[in-house]
């Protein structure tokens, strides 16, 4: 080989490296340096928000950034008391069975300086509910219902429904207000809102920066800036907290290593097994009861969740309207479960048919171990159970109607979060015979649900609580496991108390430097 050939080869290698580094250097090397800035609140999420579109804010990954930070609704629900509080609307009332009136707060401006009026509020509701945008909030909160909207003056919005809706204000609390002119045909990725913060910069794939909205109508938030980044590994998020690289880390597990900086809190998620009660042998009530008797809820919570949760007797946690505080846990009684299976077998029920136990990978910490424990418990009582772990997309095929044809009998691990704080949202989805996520129901129970949904106040609470007690006797399509708890990593330099809504809506204005006064929101 000649010297010139070698030189050419070496030059090519050097040139290739130099060109690559130079060409690609702009992306990473020019990234903004974080560092410690006392005016900046640093937050690490589990994933980058796919969009900040306000009408998608019922999606956790979007809502946790957008809701009550960038945009605001007319009314907000207090996550602790469950009461509705005024926000961009100062008052509201039911003016007729099918009509509600909302009075809009004066002196509110969007972060772009434009005043917020009743027209903006009506436009936002129309956009989220009546448009063809396929907004998630529309599906989650309003279903198929269209709303009629009117603005008799700049401070009044009239919302009409086809049938009386006693919880319309609660539903409206899910609609984030955007200015008139926001696209009705395309979702927006970076919205303008009235919230205490506005988008400063979004380095896609790396960081999202918010800055304090100087035109905010309420109390100014304590931190001038907020900086979001995302890491998919829980242990890395926990390490960022212990290494003082972030102030808040969400979605930590008990084994991620946040130690004393991890704050446990009750979130609104409940885990349960949903049984496909139309398929033999799960169409036999005794088999479904046996599955319930076989589940050792307290053991799972203690051993697998390390006490971060409470064994569940229903699909909603305390604090949600309709929760039945008197409902006891279904007992753990493997002998009774075996007896029921034997009885069913003797009556010709095909209890030896293989049942698929389906779980979603990484849906919550220790899900794989939980599924394995459940399989063992079901095998011990004489059932033939096979585990199938799936990614989100495939698991949703089994969770949402229409269910796959010919799927056979399956038991699906679900985790339900009632963000709205009212049992109607849970009942509609999981208990109605045609609910989007319901595997089974009866016309009689459907009627009871509809009757309860028409009630208000104490009557509504009592009616739903009664339904949760009756469901295991009449339907029993579920085996409840636990009301879950989350862990939030929190730096000592920040004061913040997480609540049941923190996982879905993390209000930056409630965070203050340690030791400083907590800001109050103007009413």
């Amino acid at each position: 080989m000649s010297t010139s050939t070698t030189l050419r080869c070496q030059m090519m290698a050097v040139a290739l490296t130099a060109v690559t580094v130079a060409a690609s250097g702009c992306t990473v090397a020019n990234s903004r340096h974080g560092g410690y800035d006392p005016n900046t609140l640093r937050i690490v999420l589990a994933q980058e928000p796919p969009t900040l579109e306000p009408c998608e804010s019922s999606l956790t990954s979007t809502g946790i950034v957008v809701r009550s930070n960038i945009t605001e609704p007319l009314i907000e629900r207090d996550p602790n008391s469950g009461d509705l509080q005024p926000l961009l609307a100062t008052e509201w009332s039911q003016t007729s069975p099918n009509q509600w009136m909302f009075k809009i707060r004066d002196g509110v401006t969007f972060s772009n300086g434009a005043p917020m009026t009743a027209k903006d509020a009506a436009y936002s509701i129309d956009r989220a509910v009546n448009s063809d945008l396929n907004c998630n909030v529309d599906g989650y909160v309003f279903g198929d219902d269209e709303l009629e909207l009117d603005t008799p003056d700049d401070s009044t919005v009239i919302v009409g429904t086809k049938t009386p809706d006693p919880i319309l204000p609660l539903r409206i609390s899910f609609v984030e207000i955007v200015p008139t002119g926001t696209s009705m045909t395309e979702k927006v990725r970076e919205p303008v809102g009235t919230g205490p913060y506005a988008i400063d910069d979004w380095e896609y794939g790396q960081k999202l920066y918010l800055k304090r909205n100087d035109t905010y109508w309420g109390e100014k938030p304590a931190f001038a800036k907020a900086e979001y980044q995302w890491r998919s590994e829980g242990s890395v998020r926990a390490a960022m907290i212990t290494n003082d690289e972030t102030d808040i880390a969400v979605s930590l597990g008990p084994e991620d290593g946040a130690e004393d900086l991890g704050v446990p809190f009750q979130n609104n998620e409940t885990t349960a097994l949903r049984m496909q009660a139309t398929e033999p042998p799960l169409n036999d009530m005794r088999v479904r009861q046996a599955i319930n008797y076989a589940v050792n809820r307290e053991g799972i919570v203690k051993a697998l969740f390390r006490g971060l949760g409470d064994p569940a007797s229903q699909l909603i946690p305390s604090g949600v309207v309709g929760y039945n505080a008197d409902l006891p846990l279904w007992p753990h009684d493997p002998d009774k479960a075996k007896q029921l299976i034997d009885e069913a077998r003797a009556d010709g029920v095909p209890v030896d048919t293989q049942i698929r136990l389906i779980g979603r990978t990484a849906q919550f910490p220790k899900i794989s171990e939980t599924i394995e424990v459940l399989q063992s418990e079901f095998s011990d009582i004489g059932l033939n159970v096979k585990i199938e772990m799936m990614d989100t997309s495939n698991q949703l095929l089994y969770q949402l109607r229409p269910f796959p044809e010919g799927a056979g009998p399956y038991v699906l691990m679900i985790m339900h979060g009632n963000q709205a704080g009212d049992a109607a949202f849970t009942m509609d989805q999981y208990m109605l015979s045609d609910g989007a996520q319901a595997s089974y129901g009866t016309p009689e129970f459907d009627k009871k649900i509809r009757t309860a949904e028409a009630l208000t106040g104490e009557q509504r609470q009592d009616a739903f609580a009664k339904l949760f007690a009756e469901e295991p006797q009449e339907i029993m399509s579920m085996a409840y496991i636990a009301h879950m708890k989350g862990i939030l990593g929190k730096s000592p330099r920040v004061d913040y108390t997480p609540n049941s809504a923190t996982g879905d809506e993390m209000r930056l204005s409630e965070m203050t430097p340690a030791g400083s006064a907590t800001p109050t929101v103007a009413q």
Binding site: M1, G34, D144, M240, E245, T392
Partner: protein, 309 residues
């Protein structure tokens, strides 16, 4: 040389088309993305409209033709997840991966040459045993474990390095590169060592020694030149693996690269982004292979001459 490159281009184009075809078809076998993107209570009409808007209502072969037509016009479609141009997302992520991959390979090659030459020059010495230990360690340590342990040791316990991210200048690079480098370094060290052991016992090396050449000159100018070809081939293969996306490293260290983008696209059934990312990496690997082949041909006349004949 140009005819050699032209021939390699033609032979590499077919695998490229097969890869694109395979990704297109396999992605669609993974399921319908509708449930991930529409509200839970979406009506059949809404589902139909979603499918129609994204072309999912068409037969697969029609979608395939439309896709290839789009590729010819540099239109790779729009992300279902973000609404952004799929090609913009891929082009934004790719430089971060390229930068990481090439820096890693550069350091791995330099390290392997130094350690491999040292081990070959003193067989059965401490250096030789160290290189063997390095190779075995590299082969047996999972990169996930190495990365998490590195974060725990150097970031949490010692506080020397950041846990992740790209904010801390050169310090941000150390753990990702160390994690990525350990395997190529181990493999390349063994290749260099083996090739150098053969080269150092060759007659031309003995001739060089007899002419009074220094040890350094014998190793660097005579033996290493001839040992470079096999190392180049292996380094090329390893570089291809890194360009394809250092998924684990990008996920753990929050490195905004193409591997993470592809994984997210697969999980979210974001077909357009997946196809754009695969096309970009496939074209890059295709170009890299041509470069490696060209370099190999320059090093070895036996490779070059039949092509030029």
């Amino acid at each position: 040389m140009f005819s050699f490159i032209r021939r390699r281009t033609y032979t590499s184009a077919l695998p490229l088309i097969i890869v694109l075809l395979g990704v297109f078809l396999l992605a669609r076998l993974t399921g319908d993305p509708t449930n991930l993107y529409l509200p839970e209570s979406a009506t059949p009409e809404q589902r139909e409209a979603f499918a129609q808007a994204n072309g999912f209502d068409q037969p697969v072969w029609t979608q395939l033709v439309e896709y290839f037509k789009g590729v010819l016009h540099f239109d790779f479609g729009t992300s279902l997840r973000t609404g952004e141009s799929a090609s913009e997302m891929a082009f934004r992520a790719f430089p971060a991966t390229l930068q990481l991959a090439f820096t890693t390979m550069l350091l791995a090659v330099v390290g392997a040459i130094v350690i491999g030459c040292w081990a070959a020059y003193r067989p059965n010495s401490l250096a030789d045993r160290f290189s063997s230990l390095l190779s075995m360690t590299a082969a047996s340590i999972p990169d996930f474990w190495f990365a998490i342990t590195g974060v725990w040791l150097f970031a949490v316990l010692l506080g020397w390095l950041p846990t992740s991210g790209v904010d801390s200048g050169i310090l941000s690079w150390i753990l990702p590169i160390a994690t990525l480098m350990i395997r190529p370094l181990g493999v390349l060290t063994q290749v260099v060592r083996g090739a150098m052991v053969s080269a150092l016992s060759a007659p031309y090396v003995r001739l060089a020694r007899s002419k009074g050449a220094s040890d350094f000159r014998v190793v660097s100018h005579h033996a290493l030149r001839n040992a470079a070809a096999p190392a180049l081939t292996v380094a090329g293969d390893l570089a291809v693996g890194l360009i394809n996306g250092a998924v684990v490293v990008e996920a753990i260290f929050g490195w905004p690269g193409i591997g993470k983008l592809m994984i997210d696209a697969i999980l979210q059934r974001d077909f357009a982004v997946l196809q754009a990312a695969v096309l970009l990496t496939a074209v890059s690997i295709f170009l890299l292979n041509i470069l490696i082949d060209a370099c190999y041909a320059l090093l070895d006349a036996r490779v070059r001459e039949p092509a030029m004949a």
